[in-house]
């Protein structure tokens, strides 16, 4: 059974526009040393999928830099391996030159690639779904059920505030999809929400892309799933491991912070046989100098810490100087907090420098974002 993976690198970017103004959703840093795409890539690779396409949109330099040839995910292969599919734009002005704005349009923009697929099954993954899922199980289920599309779902407790971020899937006892509802505002309680991972029969994918092109469909959820319920064999597959999706800056902050809980780390990173891979940076180990005080924090390699760090997430190569204090913050790669500076509830993008004696504070419900390479 052969499987091809397709990863969407640029959907939902507006959710965290600060972080995606200069990068794709796929290359948003997460969890101390990862980029969001690492989870989708690792899930595929750990399930034996070695033919992976990444659809890009705009601003994909950071993504190219991160993924490179794919060798850090074992995807630099003679046959198959990693392919980055840049936006399909021709030199002449015509209607193909429009950039896609939805999942279905993204798929239509790579119609040529999809038409030439010969695998049995295609896995579609979003980048902002942070999980560690055994896709083999899901694919086996899909095959056995003879499904056209199998939708990954997770049972979650929704509130009226959060429900609008999710697609809620209703299904029968036998797992047949009976309804899909997007972005409802008055929904609460335990529901199956779509985790934006789909297994699709290759032939079915090819057919519905052509169908969508000829009918001018634009939405995968509405036009393909919604219209097909009852007509085609759509199944759900329940995933019960760690799952988080990033809907807002505050949510981004909270999900990062949730990794300070060992249960979440266990569920996301320490699943046997399913490590999460990322680009290798060859940082030395982290050094704690003198009587640095660190508590309840996740710290990547290559940091040098002389000050105080509490309840924080430090990416690779961060420096916290003497008498500097970092609390409840997320500091991206190579941030420097100089002597006597104080930061609280801050998200500092790459290469930020907070100079001596500066005090900065956000609030846990509204973290303060500092743009890349800013010196304060």
């Amino acid at each position: 059974m052969s499987v091809t993976g397709i990863i969407f690198s640029n959907l939902h970017d507006t959710n965290i526009s600060e972080l995606t103004s200069k990068r794709t959703m796929a290359s948003v840093p997460f969890g101390c040393r990862y980029r969001l795409v690492d989870f989708a890539l690792s899930n595929l690779v750990n399930s034996g999928v070695s033919d992976v396409n990444v659809i890009t949109h705009y601003n994909y330099q950071s993504l190219m830099d991160h993924i490179g040839s794919g060798k850090d995910w074992d995807l630099a292969r003679r046959s198959g391996g990693l392919k980055i599919l840049p936006p399909y734009i021709t030199a002449f002005s015509n209607e193909n030159n429009r950039l896609y704005s939805s999942r279905l349009e993204a798929l239509m923009s790579i119609q040529g690639v999809i038409a030439s697929l010969t695998c049995d099954t295609v896995v579609l993954c979003d980048c902002d779904s942070i999980c560690n899922i055994n896709l083999n199980d899901m694919i086996d289920y899909h095959e056995e059920a003879g499904a056209d599309i199998t939708i990954g779902v997770k049972r979650m407790t929704l509130t009226p505030e959060t429900s609008r971020y999710y697609n809620v899937i209703k299904s029968s006892d036998s797992g047949d999809v009976t309804d899909i509802a997007s972005h409802q505002k008055d929904f609460s309680g335990r529901r199956d929400v779509c985790i934006n991972i789909w297994i699709v029969k290759r032939r079915f994918l090819q057919t519905f892309i052509l169908d969508a092109l000829s009918h001018g469909f634009t939405s995968f959820t509405r036009d393909i799933i919604g219209r097909g319920i009852g007509k085609f064999n759509y199944k759900i597959y329940r995933y019960d491991g760690f799952y988080a999706s990033i809907n807002s800056m505050t949510e981004y902050y909270n999900i990062n912070m949730s990794l300070l809980d060992p249960k979440n780390r266990e569920a996301l990173f320490k699943v046997k046989g399913r490590p999460v891979y990322t680009k290798i940076r060859n940082s030395p180990p982290t050094k704690y100098i003198g009587d640095s005080k660190v508590s309840n924090s996740l710290i990547a390699d290559g940091c040098i810490i002389e000050g105080t760090v509490e309840n924080s997430i430090l990416f690779r190569g961060v420096r916290v100087d003497k008498h500097a204090v970092v609390k409840n913050s997320i500091l991206f790669q190579d941030t420097q907090i100089l002597q006597n500076a104080f930061v609280n509830c801050v998200i500092a993008d790459k290469n930020v420098v907070v100079r001596n004696d500066v005090m900065l504070s956000g609030h846990s419900t509204m973290p303060l974002y500092i743009a890349k390479s800013k010196m304060i």
Partner: protein, 400 residues
């Protein structure tokens, strides 16, 4: 047709390293873990790539499994090349019988066909058991400028220690006129670092001659260098300044690890212009728990620290539970220190478990009487293991 390489490096990695006891029971010395995420050989391999040398033969003999696996295709060091790259060279069978590598010179002699493939002008001979950062291209420039046949890198050592080394006596132009192996009354303090650049034609000639000499120990220090000197070849000493350490003994290995600590460490791993590359494990970031203490230490990805870590080097995936204390120690990958255990002045090899409230090591004088605990052992709860012990599975049974 092969292209030509100006300089090929030959890295001697066959040493057993018996003075590292249980650490080298199952692995060759160059594959012994060092500095949190490295193995000793990473330093020489990184030096090569940082010096623009992309063709490296690694001569292995003793327990090569871990080393072979670790080097693999050389990708972590950017040594996976279409032409050149890193190549592991074990002893092999020939049509007239098979030989182990009888000595350092013989190891290279047996691999002359490998070197010939690249038609080099120079051969750099290295040893895989030293910790240092060095730009070999500068040494090669020196070699060319001196029109030398052989250049030996030397380090200025304190006079009182000079008698432990091979000492080069040189004239004012750095030309070597005398070589003394471990002299009782050293005339100079220029100690050989075991790093040689030879002009290949000369090296080949002396290796072939040496091979034909009955009773030779086929060793660079004992045979090749003295023979070349005696024949009046142009031999120069290249002065090296900086950190260099032979980590051949437990105490020197412990010390070299400790040299990484502190604000101004003796050996700096954080130099972005001269990075040390290594094969990485895919582990999440380290977690430093509430109520834990991390003082003057280096800690690597995947560690979970709930207890106290002071003046220590922790490799990836080490767990230190609540109430446990690690002091002046080197803890390798995957070790678990259970709650209430005390580890002081100890080197613990991979994946060993130290039971609850166990007490390992004698911390009265850091660096003296360092205890080593082998890999994959389980030290029972409450067990006391004193200083200066070498514990492997056999000795642990006796202790219990």
């Amino acid at each position: 047709m092969y292209h030509k390489k100006e300089c090929v490096a030959m890295l001697l990695a066959g040493g057993q390293g018996s003075r590292l006891y249980t650490l080298t029971e199952k692995t060759a010395k160059p594959a012994v873990p060092f500095g949190g995420k490295y193995r000793i050989i990473d330093f020489t391999l990184s030096n090569c790539i940082n010096s623009g040398i992309d063709t490296v033969g690694v001569l292995t003999q003793y327990q090569p499994l871990v080393l072979n696996e670790y080097i693999g295709n050389g990708q972590p060091w950017d040594l996976d090349r279409i032409f050149g790259g890193v190549m592991v060279l074990p002893p092999y069978q020939k049509n007239k019988g098979a030989d182990w590598y009888k000595g350092t010179a013989n190891a290279i002699y047996q691999n002359l066909p490998f070197v010939d493939r690249y038609d080099p002008d120079y051969v750099l001979v290295l040893s895989g058991d030293h910790i240092y950062k060095m730009d070999y291209s500068k040494m090669l420039d020196f070699h060319k400028k001196s029109e030398a046949d052989c250049t030996i890198a030397v380090l200025n050592v304190p006079l009182e220690e000079a008698s432990r080394f091979g000492i080069m006596n040189t004239d004012e132009n750095a030309r070597i006129y005398e070589f003394e192996e471990k002299p009782k009354n050293p005339k100079s303090t220029k100690a050989s670092m075991g790093i040689y650049i030879f002009s290949y034609a000369k090296l080949k000639k002396y290796l072939i001659e040496d091979e034909q000499t009955e009773g030779s120990s086929n060793d660079f220090g004992k045979n090749i260098i003295p023979n070349m000197l005696a024949a009046g070849e142009r031999m120069y000493a290249y002065p090296f300044e900086g950190y260099w350490k032979d980590v051949g003994t437990i105490s020197s290995l412990w010390e070299a690890n400790m040299d990484l600590l502190g604000d101004k460490p003796k050996f700096n791993l954080y130099d972005k212009d001269f990075r040390i590359f290594s094969r990485n494990s895919a582990q999440p970031a380290q977690f430093i728990g509430a109520g834990s203490v991390t003082e003057n230490s280096i800690i690597t990805e995947g560690c979970e620290i709930m207890g106290t870590v002071k003046n220590s080097v922790l490799f990836s995936g080490v767990t230190v539970e609540k109430g446990a204390l690690v002091n002046n120690s080197v803890i390798m990958s995957g070790v678990v220190i259970k709650s209430g255990a005390v580890v002081d002045n100890v080197i613990i090899d991979e994946n060993t478990v130290v039971g609850k409230k166990a007490k390992v090591g004698d911390g009265s004088t850091p660096g003296v009487n360092v205890t080593i605990i082998g890999s994959e052992l389980v030290i029972p709860d409450g067990k006391k293991i004193g200083g200066d012990l070498k514990v492997n599975s056999a000795t642990l049974e006796e202790l219990i």
